[in-house]
Symmetry: C2
Amino acid sequence: MTLGGAHQTLRDEVTRELRRRILSGELAQGERLIEDRLAAALGVSRNPVRESIRVLAAEGFIQVVPRLGATVARLSAEEGEELFDVRMAVEGLAARLAARKRTPASAERLRRVLEQAKEAVESGRLAEVADLNTAFHLAVGEAAGNSYLALMMKPMLQRAQWIFSQTAAVRGPHSWQEHLSLCEAIEAGDEDEAQARAVAHVAAARRSFLAAAGRRTKHPND
Amino acid sequence: MTLGGAHQTLRDEVTRELRRRILSGELAQGERLIEDRLAAALGVSRNPVRESIRVLAAEGFIQVVPRLGATVARLSAEEGEELFDVRMAVEGLAARLAARKRTPASAERLRRVLEQAKEAVESGRLAEVADLNTAFHLAVGEAAGNSYLALMMKPMLQRAQWIFSQTAAVRGPHSWQEHLSLCEAIEAGDEDEAQARAVAHVAAARRSFLAAAGRRTKHPND
DNA sequence: ATGTGAAATCTTGTATACAGTCTCCTAAAC
DNA sequence: GTTTAGGAGACTGTATACAAGATTTCACAT
């Protein structure tokens, strides 16, 4: 089959691959997803594809209308902006809890992701930078030691990454600095400061998003 | 087939029915979900059941291990408690935004749910009360006019309802009073007050949960 | 030209079939 | 009595088949 590498189930591979294609823009917003064609393109049967579609729909990447089929979700500029409000609330909480429940292991993990991101920035691998930035945010979520928070943050952050890639609003170095500063507050166990820095970080991302969105009158996929 | 009423797709019916059985406790925590048996019990084939399982897994009600099968998720007391932190952050935001963006239509909708809940309480239909309380919280989420927030709150609130039903920690009348008070703050457009009341409401629910959880040393399903 | 309607085509929804994996039980070996 | 190899049964993962609904096309009437 077309999908590479060792895997546990085709279904999981398909889910990851479709998610990746959506996040990367290979599958454009609003594009119709025809089960047969996806299955053929991925070299699998329709069954794993269908199950993947349900999962991605639950995560909000795909919109499904019974009997009419599935399309890649559309993100209006408003919906993109709305997400930042949610992120400030959720990631602010995550940072606070991460500071409260910090352990050497979780701090180590944050530092490691940060280090990888730094390397990727310096060697100019931009595609990886986006993934690693998301990974850092998720690591904060996991450091919070709240399983539901982590469960909820994963699709939220992927959606955020999607929005950014669609808007072409990248802000590599600034973002990395802010991550470092957040990491330090968490390590210091300063809950208020950690929350404040997380919220400020997301707010900065929002400004960057608004600037990039304002620069374009129309959406690239229109 | 066994599932009642008019429907769009079997898949959706199955998803709702399984979710209902989990929320109601008919399917106990940790219980193994065998596709064949569920399909037979619901009078459908395995396919719709499998797709439903993926969806419910994405919502966090079911845990799936590839090749080993699916089980109803287990909620430890800690995980139950953790959810309240998330709810305070998310529902606080929802209440704030609902107050900011209030419209006659959304206020009307909140009032209507509140009214139904009141009737259910007064006529002692306890099963409905839980559903209507959840519906009120969700209505606040929708009144916030933030599509992702609403998308995210739906499974979160269902999970909260699940936790409560499992703990048998019901607090009908108090809860209703607090809903009313929150509704008034939203109608008045007082963002700070709305957020404060929502947070206080969830905090009260947490205390009630902790009291009920402390009352039992063991879980009823153990 | 425009609108209408029915056939043909495409697509989804559901069921069934089969292959591979896991579990559990049995029985032999020590 | 305990342990381990092997095999039967059970269950999941994937593919294929078929039924029903949606869309397109094209002929025909206006």
